[in-house]
């Protein structure tokens, strides 16, 4: 077990660095919109987790790398003073990228010593496992945030040649029918899961059908060409307000040049491939498309009940379920307890996983969630009826 956790730790920490390998120093800095954090912030914040929740309380020999980092890389550090707020992560040029790499090394060395020599109780193992899953989550955000930073640059810089996370196709077609009845929802196993998946419980589902394939670029283009972004009748009221105020008229990263569609990928600006699976849409767009098509989105329970008979994992799939607690959900005490519960309003659940999800960070019970207007994740559409 101790060897397992050390291996898991090293592999996970290394992957974060490898994702940043193609970056220039400048790319680590900006926060172009409030929900896109700088790469250097992700690298530091995931490190801070281990320092704050493992080393500080349990490793008496641990020496802080630098005291100020405790509040700089707390994701709640905006509460600490009036001069630094979440909106200003991109304005902090110091600590430098190099200092943050040194910080990671310092904490990794300490964690290695701690994991190798200490007697790790279950509680500590759980915290480390949580920290590594936390880092998995930030790895996906690293990719989507880097894509945002590069993708809004008029030079459309290449992140890495041939690295294109949106070029998947469907292998199945048609609808799967699921009979009415009771199903168990939520995680019931012995391995790691988040608190929001716990509280396995019975749910009664009506009969439904769910599509085996995800919506493709070509299908979504039909919606655009049918005036989908111009007609309020397909949209939820808040969605229509969003379309008008943000002047969105396509998925994120799509560009129309002289009548031809291109999209920005991590491999650069490329012609849009019609049969590839659609990505980078908001819940509002997913819902409007489904309405236009005469279908609906599945609930998260329907998705989970059908998941073993579906192919999934290329796109996060918007569901029609709001992100709410399962029965018996209890917020844990302390800062770790702030993990999931406090976001349970105004967000929609996405199920599945995406091509940007860290390997091993997939579960059929996994509940991802975002505000309904966000497009920058690798999000797609599965229809139901």
């Amino acid at each position: 077990m101790k060897d397992n956790i050390i291996g898991f730790y090293e592999q996970t920490r290394l992957r974060s660095l490898s994702l940043c390998e193609p970056l220039e120093i400048e790319d680590y800095v900006p926060q172009p919109v409030v929900y896109v954090s700088p790469a250097k912030w992700h690298l530091a914040h995931t490190t801070w987790f281990f320092e704050e929740f493992v080393l500080k309380p349990f490793d008496k020999s641990y020496k802080l790398f630098q005291e100020s980092f405790c509040f700089l890389f707390n994701s709640y550090y905006n509460a600490v003073g009036t001069r630094v707020s979440r909106h200003q992560r991109g304005d902090l040029t110091r600590p430098t990228v190099q200092e943050i790499y040194a910080y990671r090394q310092h904490v990794d060395d300490a964690m290695h010593r701690f994991m190798s020599h200490g007697e790790l109780g279950q509680h500590i193992l759980n915290l480390i496992e949580l920290g590594l899953n936390h880092e998995h989550q930030h790895q996906e955000l690293l990719i989507t945030d880097i894509k945002y930073v590069l993708g809004q640059n008029p030079l459309f810089p290449v992140y890495k040649k041939g690295y294109n996370l949106t070029n998947q196709n469907n292998f199945c077609e048609g609808f799967l029918k699921v009979k009415e009845g009771l199903v168990d929802i939520g995680y019931g196993g012995d391995n790691f899961c988040y608190d929001n998946e716990l509280g396995q419980h019975t749910v009664y589902l009506q009969e439904f059908e769910i599509s085996k394939a995800l919506v493709t670029n070509a299908e979504y283009l039909e919606f655009i060409e049918a005036g989908g972004y111009l007609k309020s009748e397909f949209w939820l009221d808040d969605g229509w307000t969003w379309v008008q105020s943000s002047e969105v008229h396509s998925p994120m990263y799509w560009h129309n040049k002289n009548g031809s569609w291109y999209h920005y990928c991590l491999s650069g600006l490329e012609p849009l491939a019609p049969h590839e699976i659609l990505a980078h849409i908001s819940f509002y767009e997913a819902n409007a498309f489904a309405t236009w098509k005469g279908y609906r989105l599945p609930t998260e329970f329907e998705w989970e009940a059908a998941s073993e008979r579906l192919e999934w994992g290329q796109r996060w799939e918007w569901t029609s379920s709001a992100y709410l607690p399962y029965p018996g959900f209890i917020i844990q005490d302390g800062a770790v307890g702030e993990y999931n519960g406090k976001f349970m309003v105004n967000q929609m659940v996405l199920r599945g996983a995406s091509s940007a999800t860290s390997p091993g960070h997939q579960r059929k019970t996994y509940r991802n969630f975002f505000h309904p207007q966000y497009q920058w994740q690798y999000s797609g559409i599965r229809l139901a009826k």
Copy 2:
């Protein structure tokens, strides 16, 4: 049946006027915030419903009162042009209140003729019934919007002496336990209900307990005095953002003068009565109070399952359920179809009814909904665990 509908029509239409009877002409005009519509707009818009959906399509002899009203009092008239938007309802001084009363009279006369002489098919009867329920809803908004307009005036004008809709007390105490199992949710009867209540379906509920009493002013004051509005740990993340940006530190209409609490009622500014049932709180406040108290809010399904053994009807009760479609929910064609479905995102369900709800406009299956930050309804808290 024809007599019934005529009686129902007259009684309902009269009630709207009677609610406005204590108003001065000036009170009909402003829209102090975008979600509070002017009284004269409510009177005209409810009238427009009958003109647009009943008289124009079905009464060939009907002559429009004035053509411009068709777009002025369409609740979607903001789509019609750039010069009038929903935000500007309070800037339209014309048509005058007197003209709107004349408009009501014109439409009421036509409706009376139409209902008396015509052969009313079921479809038409349904539309009239929908229009009258629509007017019931606007009657409650009339009251809450009038209270908003008067309540933000530093003179605290009296709407009507002795007319105080917040002076109810609890008659029960303790918790009701409900066993795990299957329950039927949604409207299954033959009378009127909204489309969002239809699709009666089976839901599996875990065992729960639900409070027989609603939270009182005194209990909520404890929360305030315990620093409830100052500690982020009780709040959902979006709720905490709301508290800070809107600088809320009490329920709406509460005023602290030299250490004593008062609240504005339709009968004027009055000392806060500790044992009366709390009103005018947002979902964020309801949820923070429940968290602080170590409880939670009930789901809308738990509420409906327990409702026959509870006393309710004085306050709209915030539930922990997001406002989402029931299985099989289908949006009806045409403008009437926009009634409910398009609001099914970012809003929370309230169950029950309030002291401001029109008589007869109560059902245990009724699903009210508002955005989680709104305080201006007669909304309260019932706890669950």
Copy 3:
């Protein structure tokens, strides 16, 4: 002198009422934008001036009409508390219009008694004269604010048939040349003037030419048709930002219907008459027009030096002068001292007078001033070179 002041008082006070005579009660209420005050606020605020600065300090027998009015109609009452700010004047439905008329009557009666019986020292006479000039200013704002309220209503209501303040023509043409040299600027007489006109002083002017005619609608249409609103090169930097963010593309109240131009007047929506003098433009537009035409706006000193040889009084004429103190300008002590000085930044001077200016409220030394983006005054363009 005593008779003069009583006559002046009665005539002035009566004129305010007569301007409101065509209004419906509803028209007195809204504040559609922050710089447009409700008619009822103007009527009360001008009354409050006499109560606050004359009756309260000097008439021992005076009884306040109502104590709350002291802060409600102070133009700085937004500083008094958090619940009423300048932005919310339009939300205050009480006191009613009728109560405000009663307030005027109460103060007018008291002033009549006071002026008839008291021994009026020069200081008091000066205050009354200031109050009446203050009311003149608000009379012009009354007209422009009423026009704004009615003019943004899609029904384009008629204020008064035949009452059209924009139908003047030029009677002169060509340019007037003024030689280089010293001129005296500022008020040097014995009658009333504002503090911002005082401090008569010598200014050295270079030779200049100034147009005898004001710019007409037809001339301004050429600018529009030449793409004036689409080309940044004619605009000051802040002006171009204003054009883009406010989406202005014509003078205020102009409407293009199927290729023909109309404008809203107090007499209703009317076809634009090409030879009438242009009105309702901002400083930014005036300056852009002059730049496009190869001219410039005159300075306020050039205007004053040439004024006796020019025809003026139909439009406020934007000058190229920022509103700044004259040499030796001293802000008077106390609240009356706040009259003019505190606005001396970010505003541009307008000279002359308009067709909406109260009779007798014209002087060649008069310095009007507004922020450069405001269009709602009867403002026009005189060119210089």
Copy 4:
């Protein structure tokens, strides 16, 4: 002459690089507020000037470094498309700092060749001189923008030890009296000046007195301690609005820790030295201080008339003059003509120079200008009466 211009070119271009020498790569990137541009943008934009206005039109052998830079580093490139606006300069991580240094080298090499071999007509020499003065201006902005970026970081990073541009003291005291009469204003010499200084003209000045010393930190602290930021009576109306909405309560970079005042300097966070000359205040603050003290700010003409008998050059001195054209001011044709004229509204003139001004970039006729709310320049106060 040719040697002179080459030497001037090399010295100027080198100085920009030397100002950036202490920076980390990350420091070149952010734009924390819209008026603070990234260091890398300054380096590129000043280079673009020579490419666009000298090399492209006059050096036929010149090859563009990269075509996209033509619009990326045009200060008006926000007009070019919807995807890049002035607000997003800080989001552009590419081109990298290294590429921008290569761009500078490329243009410098080309300029060197061009200046060495070509026959440089007067027009070209003028353009080069303008470009170098343009770079001088950006050098001062480089310093103030770098200070802003570092100064809002809670770590208060040191730019360079001992490099403290605010530690000057006054050497004079008392007031200088200047007699009434005619003075010549504006540049009349043969060397370089900006278009806004031209049009030397006669101005008639009233007698005035002007302080020989600038206001110190100690004097300004008295204003703070007297409640200067809490009392509206000292402030212009727009200034008071600014104080309240921006929650300013001291000069920029001042911090009060447990009752002691510190200020951020380029040498780090240091205790405030009372006798040093005040810096980093807005026009609103300068004007409020003068009002509180019973004085006023000088006009720009008074300043220029007295300048030869004053010590100046440590701080930009706010005057009471709005930034307006001199008589006969003509905007030059073409893009270079946009240099100054289009900013002539809503800004106030500052005279003198600061400790951050490039050597040689000082003239008594120099007219600097900023919006009245900006604090981030090395701006101070000289009183007049």
